[in-house]
Every structure is written in C-alpha cells, then in structure tokens.
C-alpha cells in the first residue's frame, strides 16, 4: 500500500500563505477587470457624447439667425436663465433622451451684442450624473466643445433669405 508522506506543519502554513497571496492577486485582477470595463464604458460614452455634441454644433452652424438659434435651444428640456443661459437635455444609461437622468448634455449660451450683429459664445458639454465606479481620474465630464457663431444684423451670406 502506498503511503502519503506530508510535512503538514510547513505545508499548511505555505498553503495558507499561497491562498492569501492568491486572494490579493485575485482582488487586484478583479479591480483591473473593473477598471477595464468602466474605461470601455467611458470610451463609448465619449464617442456617443461626441456625436451628440457635434450634431448640435452642426445644427447651430446651419442656423441663420438668433431667433432660429433660440427656437432650436428650446427643444432642450431644461432652461436656466442668467448672465449665461443654460439649456440641458437628459439621457438614460442607454443614451435615450428623456427617459432618465444618467447623462446630461448642457449648452451654455452667452450673447455679445454689437452694432454689426450678435456674437454667440457656445459651450456644449456632456456629463455623467453618477461617477464611474473604479475610475478616479477624469471626473464626471465626458466631452466638451467651445465655439462661437456670429449672426450679422445686415449683410452676410444669409441676407437674401
């Protein structure tokens, strides 16, 4: 009959140490998986937010007057008036507008009236309302673009319209 020879005292200690090391490694690995997953989600959010913000800028670029601009801005759900007008629309976790408040896309509009027309300073940004788990750097802002558009009072390419 075969006999099992085992130095149990040393072996037990070594195995407990191995389990502890394995647990530590496992926790680090799971943390890495978590970071990878949420970094991917954040990258996807950045792409989606980028498409939404760029589309809004393209729409603003195509507008011919400040009246058209404010008509477009009124399609945003929430408005806060002040020295800088703020318009916000909300999206759920699947980026569907109006069915949740997981993400917010905000337009900040600052008018500068001059004798020749109106210069509009525009800042569009997308934020996530709840922070990303596992990721500390970067904060909750996902994407932001700043630009200006000038609507001339007279003349310009849209005068004849």
């Amino acid at each position: 009959m075969n006999k099992v020879s085992l130095n149990s005292k040393h072996s037990l200690l070594e195995i407990i140490l191995s389990v502890l090391i394995f647990l530590a490694a496992g926790i680090i690995m799971l943390n890495c998986f978590g970071i990878a997953r949420f970094t991917q989600i954040r990258a996807n959010d950045k792409v989606t937010a980028g498409a939404i913000i760029q589309s809004d800028f393209e729409i603003i670029k195509s507008l011919n007057s400040t009246n058209e601009l404010y008509e477009f801005l009124n399609t945003y759900g929430t408005k806060e008036s002040g020295s800088i007008n703020t318009y916000t629309k909300y999206y759920d976790e699947n980026w569907i507008q109006g069915s949740g408040k997981e993400y917010a896309v905000t337009i900040e509009i600052d008018d500068e009236n001059t004798s020749s027309g109106t210069l509009i300073n525009i800042n569009i940004s997308a934020q996530k309302n709840n922070p990303y788990p596992f990721i500390k750097a970067g904060g909750q802002q996902i994407y932001s673009i700043e630009s200006k558009k000038f609507f001339p009072s007279f003349g310009g390419v849209y005068e004849d319209k």
Binding site: F33, V47, E58, I59
Partner: protein, 160 residues
C-alpha cells in the same frame, strides 16, 4: 489514533484550501472572460456605428466646396456623391448602402456601374440620409439593433 485523525483533518483542510484556490481561479477566469467579451462586443458595436458615420463626415468635410457634394438617388436609395477633378478629368466618389454594408465607388463622372462593383467599407444594418433643410443633413447608421445619428451642415449647399 489521535495522530492519525489529526493527520487526516489537516489533509482535508489542505485539500479544502486547494479547492478554494481552484474555485476562486474559476471565478476570476470566468469574470475576466465575461468582461473581455463585453468589452469586445461594445468595441465592435461602437466601431460599426461610429466608423460609418465618421467616414461619411470626413469624406464630406474634406470635399465641402461648391457643387462638390450631392445627394443623389441610386437605384432607389440615397447616395452621397462627391465630385472631384484630377488632371482636368472629372471623377465621382459614390457612397451608398447596399447588401448590409456601406459601399464606396470611385468612378469617372457620368459612367454607370452596378451597386456590387463598389468597395465594401463597413458593415451596417441600415444607413439612411435625410435632408433636414437646404444645408443640413441627417445621417443614421443602424448596427446590431442600435442606431447612431450625425447631423452635417454643408457650406457647399448640397445639390439634390
């Protein structure tokens, strides 16, 4: 007898610890696999949705001069046509949706071609072009039941 019992208890305990290691390994590997699969799936979906729209946007923006960009009907589907001149010869780049993908066809201006002649650029379930107003177009790409939209404002006022 006691010594034998103690030995067998320690042996079982050691085996249990090994079992814990094995179970934890399986959990970690399975979690890793699931996360990797999910990341890959998201990446592919994102790629198909965004690459198609970015491709169209870049193609149009780089050619956005007067009369260069047109939206034309091609066998019942809307197609983006980009007119270019090389060495005083006129060429056209046609971008259209056909057979589950976005195709590009570079050809002499005015020549005819089959939809299948083009180069398959990126897979998509659907690709749609809508005219919102004179200089504003909406492009929609659908891939794996998810859709993505992009508005493009043309300086050149596309001819339709």
């Amino acid at each position: 007898m006691d010594r034998q019992n103690q030995f067998s208890f320690q042996f079982i305990f050691i085996m249990l610890l090994y079992l814990v290691i094995v179970i934890l390994s399986v959990i970690v590997i399975s979690l890793g696999k699931n996360i990797y699969d999910k990341i890959n799936e998201d990446r592919n979906k994102n790629y198909e949705l965004q690459v198609s729209l970015s491709y169209i946007a870049n193609k149009i923006r780089q050619s956005d001069i007067n009369d260069a960009v047109e939206i034309k009907d091609l066998n019942g589907i809307d197609a983006v046509v980009i007119n270019e001149v090389y060495d005083e010869e006129e060429y056209q780049t046609w971008i259209y949706f056909y057979d589950g993908a976005i195709y590009e066809m570079f050809t002499d201006a005015g020549s005819t071609f089959e939809l299948s002649d083009g180069t398959r650029v990126v897979e998509a379930d659907l690709f749609k072009i809508e005219k919102i107003k004179d200089n504003l177009y909406k492009f929609t790409a659908v891939s794996k039941e998810e859709n993505s939209e992009l508005y493009l404002s043309l300086y050149s006022k596309a001819v339709t």
